[in-house]
Amino acid sequence: MLMFENVSRVYPDGTQAVKDVSVHLKKGEFCVLLGPSGAGKSTLMNMVNGLVEPSEGKITLDGEMLTKKNLQTIQRNVSMIHQQLYLIPRLSVLHNVLTGILPQAGFWKSMIKSFPQSDQKRAFELMHEVGLEEKQLMRRASELSGGQQQRVAIARAFMASPKVVLADEPVASLDPAMSRSVLNSLKKAAQIHGATVLCTLHQMDYALEFADRIVALRNGEVFFDGHPSDMDEEVQRKLYEIERENLSKQQDATDSDNTETAVINPEQKIGAVA
């Protein structure tokens, strides 16, 4: 369904972020992208999102090319759960979820925050699926805990019945118990709605626990691709090694004021400002 065919991406400054990636994802698959920062996870996601164009190769969704020219296809079929969530703090939880279908909503009705009953029922259903309750319906998003906000973001992403949901580090700022519960909600919602999930994580144990498929990247290349059960100790040990190696490299990077990480993930900068 979602196919990466020999996809490469070279940034203008010469950084090879993604190199010859070929991955075929099936409908409803929960795919976790593993790898240290700078491995090309975000670039891969942003290419599905239309924010970045592949330099070589192509990405197709049910046969349709995903490029900037096909932005409408992308917007209709792909939704994104951002690492910083980007919920609207002063808006109610219900309306935050409903903004998932804002592009399709009628203009004048949406201006007075009026949404058809069917949309609202769908929002209720999604909120129930991810574990939100009625008492949270009219609370402001900013009043919720981190885990609950994450659930709101998940519900919003599924609101427009996307074929693909991209989740960028969905549990980066949560404690382990909450992380498991949120990932569970995400997986459950994906199963119910038959959406393919492409999710970046940096904790390997969560990947092993939840993923239907793990794609591990290293320096932009696919280092491992398969079911979690195929991941033997040898592979795991190597992944840990990459992680450690990368950590020491990051230390150097901050010392010499390298801007590489900023180029690879432009959204993170926006988030830091906001």
Binding site: Y86, R90, T99, L102, P103, F107, M111, V273
Partner: protein
């Protein structure tokens, strides 16, 4: 004064540059600033103000004599007791039902003395007066209410002008850089027109009365509000806007959902401030005939009716304080 240290070579910490709080440059700049202040202060007679005020204070404790204090006591002696009542000859009033007088009022008998120039004689006549103990207070209160209404409508019209202009003047939501420039300069043009001068012209156009005052307030404050609105929109967090627009929502929807909820509290605070300010300004606008309590103030001032002036000033003062308290409570609720 932050000097860039990027160009410096890496060296031992013992040789690092010490930070100097006061340099010859600072002293020189301070000296120049002081000279400018002295020159400008003399231009605006700040030195004289200090001397005169000092004299007045000394005179108040019994040392020397002061023109300023004399002025204050002259006004004070004429302003008190302040005037609350009205006293009108019954014959000058039409349609007064003596059986059914207005609330609190009563009829008083008095003597009217008239001087005849031709015969050089005084004629005394018994007349009846209608006395209303709080008649003047009542009148002033009504005029204060009119002033508050002027402030209110000035604010409403100001919002109606500044809301669309503010959106057009926000860089990230303006449809075109030229539109942005036009909206910004339009707003600064509105801001640059002082209410009193605008009111002066509008009185020529619309005649005496509150129309001129309301429009003058609206024109000036829409420039202020519009700039606030535009700046708030520009400074709203980018993340949620990006999340909605990248999902395909058009910019008006993004504005409605990701920007308005965020900027609303600040907008309400601005509008409240402008409303308060408009009421305060509306009290003055009457001086050029643009309606409100200022018209009465100017009239009484020119007639040297300082006891009436004192009533007006008292009412203005009380109203402004009450409105401020009320508005503070409202603000605490909305934020």
């Amino acid at each position: 004064m932050s000097t860039s240290t990027n160009h410096l070579p890496k060296r031992d910490w013992r040789e690092w540059q010490v930070y100097q709080a006061v340099t010859p440059k600072t002293i020189f700049v301070l000296l120049i600033a002081f000279m400018l202040l002295a020159w400008s202060g003399h231009n605006t007679e700040m030195d004289k103000a200090a001397v005169e005020t000092g004299k007045a204070v000394l005179s108040a404790v019994g040392i020397g004599d002061s023109d300023v204090l004399n002025g204050v006591s002259k006004f004070g002696s004429q302003a008190f007791p302040i005037q609350f009542s009205t006293r009108t000859e019954l014959t000058r009033l039409e349609g007064v039902d003596l059986q059914n007088l207005p609330w609190l009022s009563y009829v008083e008998e008095g003597v009217s003395r008239e001087y005849d120039v031709d015969t050089d004689t005084w004629t005394e006549e018994k007349v009846e007066y209608l006395v209303e103990p709080i008649g003047y207070l009542n009148k002033v209160l009504w005029m204060m209410w009119e002033t508050i209404e002027m402030g209110f409508w000035g604010t409403v019209i100001s919002i109606m002008i500044s809301l669309p202009l503010g959106i057009l003047a926000a860089k990230n939501y303006s449809p075109h850089p030229i539109v942005y420039q036009i909206a910004r300069s339009w707003l600064s043009f509105h801001r640059a027109m002082p209410e009193l001068i605008v009111a002066l012209f509008l009185v020529l156009i619309y005649g005496f009365g509150p129309i001129a005052g309301v429009l003058a307030l609206a024109i000036h404050t829409s420039g202020v509000l519009g700039k606030f609105f535009a700046d708030e929109i520009e400074n709203a967090p980018k993340g949620p806007q990006m999340a909605l627009s990248s999902a395909g929502a058009n910019s008006l929807k993004v504005l409605r959902y990701a920007v308005f909820p965020h900027v609303l509290p600040a907008w309400i605070a601005y509008v409240q401030y402008i409303f308060e300010r408009n009421i305060r300004t509306a009290t003055v606008l009457g001086i050029v005939g643009a309606g409100g309590i200022g018209m009465e103030l100017k009239g009484r001032w020119d007639l040297f009716d300082y006891d009436h002036v004192a009533t007006i000033l008292l009412i203005i003062f009380i109203s402004v304080v009450v409105l401020e308290i009320f508005s503070q409570k409202l603000r605490n609720k909305t934020l």
